[in-house]
Subunit: 487 residues, 2 copies
Amino acid sequence: MVSNKRILIIGGVAAGTSAASKARRIDPDAEIKIIQEEPVVSYGACGMPYVIEGLIDNFNRLIARPAERFKNKYNIDIIANTRAVKIDGLNKKVYAETLNPKDNGNEYSSAAPIRLIFDYDSLVIATGARSAVPKIKGIFVNDDTSNQVKGSSTMVKGLLLLRNYSDGIHIQDSIRNSKSCVIIGAGLIGVEMAEAFRRRGMDVTIVEMADYVLPSLLNEGMADIVKRELEDNGVKLVLGEGLEEVVTSSHSSSRDVRYLELVRTTKKKEIATDLVLLGTGVRPNSEIAKNAGIELGVHDAIRVDEHMRTNVPNIFAAGDCATARNYITNKDVYLPLGTTANKQGRVAGENAAGGNAEFKGVAGSVITKTFDLYIGKTGLDKQEALENDFDPVEKEIKSVTRAGYYPNKKSILIKLVADKKSRRILGAQIVGGEAVKGRIDLLAFALLVRATVDNLANYDACYVPPVSPVWEPINIAASQTAKLFTG
Amino acid sequence: MVSNKRILIIGGVAAGTSAASKARRIDPDAEIKIIQEEPVVSYGACGMPYVIEGLIDNFNRLIARPAERFKNKYNIDIIANTRAVKIDGLNKKVYAETLNPKDNGNEYSSAAPIRLIFDYDSLVIATGARSAVPKIKGIFVNDDTSNQVKGSSTMVKGLLLLRNYSDGIHIQDSIRNSKSCVIIGAGLIGVEMAEAFRRRGMDVTIVEMADYVLPSLLNEGMADIVKRELEDNGVKLVLGEGLEEVVTSSHSSSRDVRYLELVRTTKKKEIATDLVLLGTGVRPNSEIAKNAGIELGVHDAIRVDEHMRTNVPNIFAAGDCATARNYITNKDVYLPLGTTANKQGRVAGENAAGGNAEFKGVAGSVITKTFDLYIGKTGLDKQEALENDFDPVEKEIKSVTRAGYYPNKKSILIKLVADKKSRRILGAQIVGGEAVKGRIDLLAFALLVRATVDNLANYDACYVPPVSPVWEPINIAASQTAKLFTG
């Protein structure tokens, strides 16, 4: 029997394309459509800093699967340059309108949109997130999904965001004639782009409100080594200060365009700069869901259960627009990441096609790279553990990435957080070389199976001098954490 | 109250020095002595290939702590160049005799030994292992712990072992005037030394009895990629053939020394060579224990319980001379590795000083590197799982070490073995880049906590393009393994 199921997906990056592909595997006959605002689909947004840095030669290298392949290989229709504007959950319809491709950039467009109506049996909302920009004196950033940056009603040249494909291309274009950039926020975007800009020979300053870098990943002491790495590579850091004002000026040639002059920090420091990159976090594109009566959850993300179901029948949500369950606390969190988007998308796609897949949740595993350092976190820090009614202890150790005698070994810092009552591991922060990835993953796995620090002290780690000291640092950290329980 | 406890340790490499250091931390007043055959203690034997390769400039760089530091910093006496010859467990005495340092090399010595007697309250046997050399026509290898290689009663120049510190130095000396080496055995020593010799510009042939390389780590299909890596780097492989004969000749200048001419394989292939390295495994130095009535276990290693106790009161054993409990099967295994030696040594040292520490066992986690490949194993392969009454399935997947668009990504092959009844993970083999270490460790941890493949399919792996694809390969491998259960 041929299915005539109509599966509609709003959003065509990580979650949306994962959902579509999985739905196709489950139901070979369904009609599957993706409505996508951007001109491209299925791109690896996390790769944009490496293109800007020059390590990857072209943005289109980030496109995993072009739109034509979805059509030709999977019979999935991509309706690109089109924005969904309204969901009618009762009548199972989505209203959309075409966009002039320029709407995705920082330029105005005046082409009249074409209105479209789509019927669905199952809908997956995968609208993603947009840059969350605080109110800043001197500029105005559109609060809708297009995130156009303007100075009052005029365009500001040199003010940058990094979220969409077109943002990446815009940055690449902008740095051709620029010598300096101030990055607002020392988060993932901030430290990754600081490296990219430095490798392009630019003068880089990061302004961060917290007293240390990467505050979403690390506690203060652990962040020192990252601060040194940034400074050793010529990045200037202004910590404990926020952005107060962006000062622009107009040129006589164009009334509608204003040019960046300088930024002024909350402590009145003035930094003259060609470019400003706002790396101040993201917020979910959940308005279309909210307007359709779909319940929002933490951080205004679309509230989903483990099957990626919203509270409205036949409507699923996945990826950066949706919540995820933290598998340590069993509470909903909003932590938009590519890995989660892919996994949630797959679950949503399977269930939209009639399946019963389950997403097992997240530990909050994050890793980033800046210059030669990798920085990772999984689970809770001590403060988060306290807020979740654990009785946490924490222990920080320093070890190395190779045998003592092996050349080019690096330091590795590991902080573990564990619960005194249950001896359970609750979280970890690690700073070191490439092997941070494997160690964070091991701890994320330990968190899933609710392992104790005793388990972590006693697993049989493998050893070869080029990639590890004979005593595995996690074994050491766990064994020293366990000692705190007897105190 | 000052303890007058006498803690005696036979053996001063990994297990012995770990035991001594830990005993000192537990009992600041005990008299602690280490009897050590070799002139040096506390060296990283696993680092020898990298010294021979020229990556590390001197063998003494491998010495973690020189004998003087044991005395000066920890008040631990090192009695070097001394061989324990008899244990009297009833009267708590160890008989020893001094060695001429040359006894540790491949030369004769005729200095008369000095006999020594040591009293102990606790004894730790950490005598290690020696090269296990099969009977080979044309040569005679001493079966005692000194492992001198001789041709009947004469010395054979160019026949090499790699086990002790002096073996390493002997190889380094030998390759100065040598252009070629045949390595017998494609195990850890074989593939690591093949790289070392090639990097010194030598002609290298490995002769291996099995039809594929690294048979102790990999199954046949997985080993193909390692074979290619060796061949791509100029290593000649003779597989499915053993060593039948070593042909030597005498020079007129010295009657007592014979020189290597060629090796003849079991299939009558003749390979002319300057050097032959015997990488045919190791066997425990357990004779002194056996002669003292101490029970031996699997592979004639000293049988120990989880407290590192032998069957004789107050006598412990640890490291390459002892058994270890496999924490998947709960059976004793003999798998002499530096990591296990350090851990067992620490437990033995603590308990010798009156503690009650426990060694939690091994998964059989092994990793090796040859050229740009890392190869790891943990747990059981399918055959081993069958032999242990599991109902195993296995699944092999191929993935990559970085995001698809990121430069210099490499292939990674993962094979998982799992039990159909319990869905438990039973073992893994991985071939890839440096990140093999972290992934094997994660699986070794999963084995300890008896995790299922479902757990492994669902942990929240971290992701950043330079060190991982967005879908963690272990998640993929586990999820595909889980699918086999429903078939």
